[in-house]
């Protein structure tokens, strides 16, 4: 798992790739928390390179959703591969966070 982040004011796009599971969910949580702690309230997670996520990774998304909601923004996902999308659907996460095709669309949703 690797996270690369670009910042634009209180918005950030974090591109995550690889696997997120119980072995590294804590690291993923620390990565996203560090981004939010820099004053980011609207966070886009680009899942284009994410090839695996278990419930341990969903837990990290849930924490980030709560933190960004609390900060008056939110969390959005983009470029989600089909098999990851199915995990989001089955787990009800599509109700908790919006899913966009591209990072630009996700970012635009915050400025509206």
């Amino acid at each position: 798992m690797n996270v690369e982040t670009s910042y634009s004011g209180s918005t950030a796009v974090a591109v995550v790739d690889g696997r997120v599971d119980s072995a590294n969910a804590k690291d993923f949580d620390e990565e996203l928390s560090a981004i939010i702690d820099r004053g980011v309230s609207s966070l886009v997670v680009d899942c284009g390179g994410l090839n695996y996520i278990s419930s341990a990774g969903l837990r990290v998304f849930l924490i980030a959703i709560r933190k960004t909601n609390e900060a008056g923004g939110g969390l959005a996902l983009c470029a989600v591969p089909d098999h990851i999308r199915e995990v989001l659907e089955v787990s009800g996460f599509v109700r908790l966070t919006k899913v966009f095709a591209t990072a630009d669309e996700a970012q635009a949703s915050f400025s509206g």
């Binding site: 696997r19 599971d21 119980s22 072995a23 695996y52 278990s54 419930s55 341990a56 969903l58 837990r59 849930l62 959703i65 709560r66 909601n69 098999h83 995990v87 089955v90 787990s91 009800g92 109700r95 908790l96 966070t97």
Partner: protein, 139 residues
Amino acid sequence: MDVKLEMEVGLGRDEPRRAVERFERFANAHELPMGLVFKFQLALDELLTNVVSYAFDEDEPNPVITVGLRLTDAQLEAVLQDNGRPFNPLLDAPEPDLGLSAEDRRVGGLGIHLTKAFVHGLNYERVDGWNRLNLVQPL
């Protein structure tokens, strides 16, 4: 076709991943469909993560976790066994309420929820001090 793979799983944080990546190589070597491999892998991961995290006391003298895989023309099967405390994840795990807001949602039970959604046949039994979970996916 009738091929088998047996493995032992330790109690480390990385052990479920090591096991499911071995399963993935086994499945890919036999050209199983990617979608099926992903779902079965996720189920194994969730169940093993539960066992590694909760089945044993810290001073458990001889914790054993095994995974047996069997692939035939008709189905993919896995048997997970551990000698930890009795726990039936199919009944004892809390059912998540997917209608709640992010603020009220709990993540407990989500792994089992995904497992039930992604694997066709799941069965639990307690046999001679062992938890035994059986996963069956028709091909």
